[in-house]
Symmetry: C2
Subunit: 500 residues, 2 copies
């Protein structure tokens, strides 16, 4: 059963022009967005691809707008068809993965601008970029620009973590300009509403905030419902305690009131909002470790167990779920995180922050975390939340956002290749072939950051003729092994020709 079978879907791809006239197509996270639009005005908003799809559902009075709801009914939605084209699989495969909870298509019915994407271990590994202002700076315009910038470099989803001024309006313009799912942590805004006093939070203020954000079109919510009252004490011996903002807010609330986490207690009320708008859960890991010494401890795994319980509760209501993961984990403890999450959360997509594999390199945490991210993605994590070089030190600027996104594209792609994802290795092979054949322009074009690759090459060999040279300045002409091998092959060929 398919809805709107008549609708023709066009999924934008990046097209890389190669010197032999052929074109190599790749997944385009920016979708139909044009990142080089000088006339761009964020107050206009982008094309509403899903407008009619959503209207049809509203007209028919659907009360659950989750893709899982449709999947369980056996109905192939346009969102499923869209991601099937994007990922090169059948819509039936997509439907099944969503039905069993192993993948999600975050898609709020009030976010018609969304160009659907899917998160799940059987699909390409995705990456998320965090943007958003803090009390210490950044304007709406800057944040919308960071959104477009991160999509240009390859972010698959974006979280608006604003905690500063104009939270509502900033989010509004981020969503109206976002072809990708937007995630938020509603607790931040709820806390603002009670003037930063965690103990004054309650479920009503929280639900009110949820509805406000769901109305705007947020596609997934981080909900810290797994930070149970009893678990807080388990963090006492930790070096860095609770490092999730949401986790520390809920811990404060629980201890102050000596009561169970109200998000856990009133999970059913949250479910109602999620269903109505089709918002997906990103079950927050409020007790994730903030340093490698605290990794895989009792507090972390106690919360994970609760997240498994909440996953089932959400699934019972046909709500899509992903589960957040650490954080800071040494190499030898990474695999256990993935294994336990798989078991406990029945393969609901895992969405990890890194993890960082050492704590000693502030300023380079895009690297320390890309190491852990590549590994955990290979083990099965579906989406990686990026870390920028500014992590632990300050609010990222545009360059930091780019550096974080690229480091994570590397990690995600390395995992896709290692998992044998169809087509992933093709780009590596094309680039390597171009490298071997000294097709410098093709090498640049096929790389994650063509401008940078070209500028590094041109630093020492800027002349146009050098774009066809059979060497670069690293080894120079007489020590280029590829050049030597090419000559070798040519001579061998000539020799065997003259024999025949």
């Amino acid at each position: 059963m398919t809805e709107n079978t008549q609708t023709q879907l066009h999924v934008p791809q990046n097209e890389i022009q190669l010197s032999d006239g052929s074109t190599f197509k790749t997944y385009r996270t920016a979708g139909s967005l044009c990142s080089h639009d000088d006339e761009f005005d964020y107050k206009v908003g982008i094309n509403k691809l899903r407008k009619h799809w959503i209207e049809e559902r509203l007209a028919r009075g659907d009360e659950n707008h989750s893709q899982m709801y449709y999947a369980k009914k056996g109905q192939i939605t346009n969102e499923m068809r869209y991601v099937a084209i994007r990922e090169g699989v059948s819509p039936e495969f997509v439907l099944n993965e969503i039905k069993i909870g192993r993948a999600i298509i975050p898609s709020n019915r009030n976010h018609p601008e969304l160009e659907p994407m899917i998160i799940g271990k059987k699909f390409l590994v995705k990456i998320n970029a965090n943007i958003g202002n803090s009390a210490l700076g950044s304007s709406i315009e800057e944040e919308v620009e960071k959104l477009r910038w991160s999509l240009h470099w390859g972010a698959d989803t974006v979280m608006d973590l604003s905690t500063g001024k104009n939270i509502h309006e900033t989010r509004e313009w981020i969503i109206r300009n976002a072809p990708v799912p937007i995630g938020t942590v509603p607790l931040y805004q709820a806390l603002e509403k009670v003037k930063g006093k965690a103990e004054n939070l309650n479920i009503d203020i929280f639900i009110e905030t949820l509805i406000e954000q769901a109305e705007q079109g947020v596609d997934y919510f981080t909900i810290h419902a797994g930070v149970l009252h009893d678990y807080v004490a388990l963090t006492k011996k930790r070096i860095t305690g609770i490092v999730s903002r949401g986790g520390s807010i809920m811990a404060r609330w629980c201890l102050h009131h000596k009561k169970e986490n109200f998000l856990y207690e009133h999970f059913d009320r949250i479910n109602e909002v999620m269903k109505k708008y089709g918002v997906s859960y990103s079950l927050g890991d409020g007790l994730r470790p903030g340093c490698i010494a605290d990794a895989n401890d009792e507090a972390q795994f106690a919360e994970l167990k609760t997240l498994g319980e909440l996953t089932k509760k959400a699934w019972a209501e046909d709500i899509q779920v992903m589960v957040e993961g650490p954080g800071h984990v040494p190499l030898n403890l990474i695999e256990e995180n993935m294994r336990l999450q798989n078991e406990i959360c029945n393969e609901a997509p895992f969405y990890t922050l890194g993890p960082l594999v050492t704590d000693i390199a502030p300023g380079y945490d895009h690297i320390t975390s890309a190491i852990g991210a590549a590994m955990i993605a290979w083990y099965g994590t579906a989406m990686l939340c990026y870390v920028t070089p500014k992590e632990h030190l300050g609010l990222p600027n545009k360059q930091d956002v780019k550096d974080g996104v690229i480091a994570y594209k590397i990690a995600a792609h390395a995992a896709d290749v290692a998992k044998g994802h169809p087509g992933a290795k093709e780009r590596d092979d094309l680039l390597s072939k171009a490298r071997f054949e000294f097709r410098w322009e093709d090498q640049f074009a096929l790389s994650l950051d063509p401008e940078l690759a070209r500028s590094y090459h041109d630093e020492t060999l800027p002349q146009d003729g050098m774009k066809k040279a059979h060497f670069c300045s690293m080894c120079g002409p007489s020590f280029c092994s590829m050049h030597l091998t090419q000559e070798l092959r040519k001579e061998e060929d000539e020799r065997s020709l003259s024999k025949n």
Copy 2:
């Protein structure tokens, strides 16, 4: 049996001053070198720590200067004592690891400036930085400066891969200013001697070059003796053929003469030089894969088998050996490299170049390769050869050298932590504790790159008072989870106090 038991050894360490007045000591790769010496003149050369140790051995007429030779005789050398202090283990432990070939102390008798270090899986993971000019640029002064710079940031050994002008003199001044082992690939200079015509090479020219370099004090030689005539054909189906310069030179020679690799045929003659000067082998992997598609193929593992055979031959003459490894390897094929090398080469230290886990990120290959490097080091690789952001694109400048070294310090340290190396995690824990307690100055001081960490922090909060602030600009004051957790703990303490 210990030589020179009277000699007091002083092993320089980095001392990190913490705000509570305590000092944290770390391994200092730069040894007694002062990197902030404005008066520095490379033509003077540095202190000759080993002068008397070597003189004693020469006086007594030792004909084999390899540390393995002494280890097998049960003699604890000053070099062994020195590295034992450096690594915090007993000299007996060091002796045994060297005796069984699982570790090496590269140390040419003509390199008295060397401050000994050890390479082996039971010790801290080491990193190597490649420097050296190409035909397209760089002066002696620049290269000596790159040496000092890479040691400042943490390189454990340095390879001089010069292929440009003044090869001999450049190497001389690098060695005279190096407290770390210097490695070279003598084939490069031998090729220069035959004006770049590989087919004109022969064992006599090669041995002559070996002696020339051994006389200067090179501590380890990369020798491509495993590229056998028959193996060259195995690379025919590869995307990038042979990417090792040494490998492609030897392949050319073999095919031209239709003869076996002269380095393999005359390995005994090479052994004689190695013994006499105490130079260590770094058995080159001339057939390493140059792209992930070529990883773990027949050519690569055929050569590895020959390297295993050569390891045993060298050990029979009491010569120290490490074995070079790839290159470009996808995440899922990394472990096999380490396992096979362990089996085939009887745990001789593995020394890998990365490996890069994807080919699509030229300009970021310090990151693509740090991912593979961290993983293979965790599996047991003893030394990692760094890759800079300029890899595949051009000759690295100072900033590239620094970026490469730091990415590899991260990989090596992450592996040390994961392997449970004594003391490795202590620095992580101290930094995390400082982070939790908002001791910003201590955080900066304990990090791999204090200047950068500080500058990132100060970009948004430059005021001096902010060095004691209980937040940074990433989250701002009211959303700092660590601040919240600290308050929480304080209140809890007060509550339990008031109860008692």
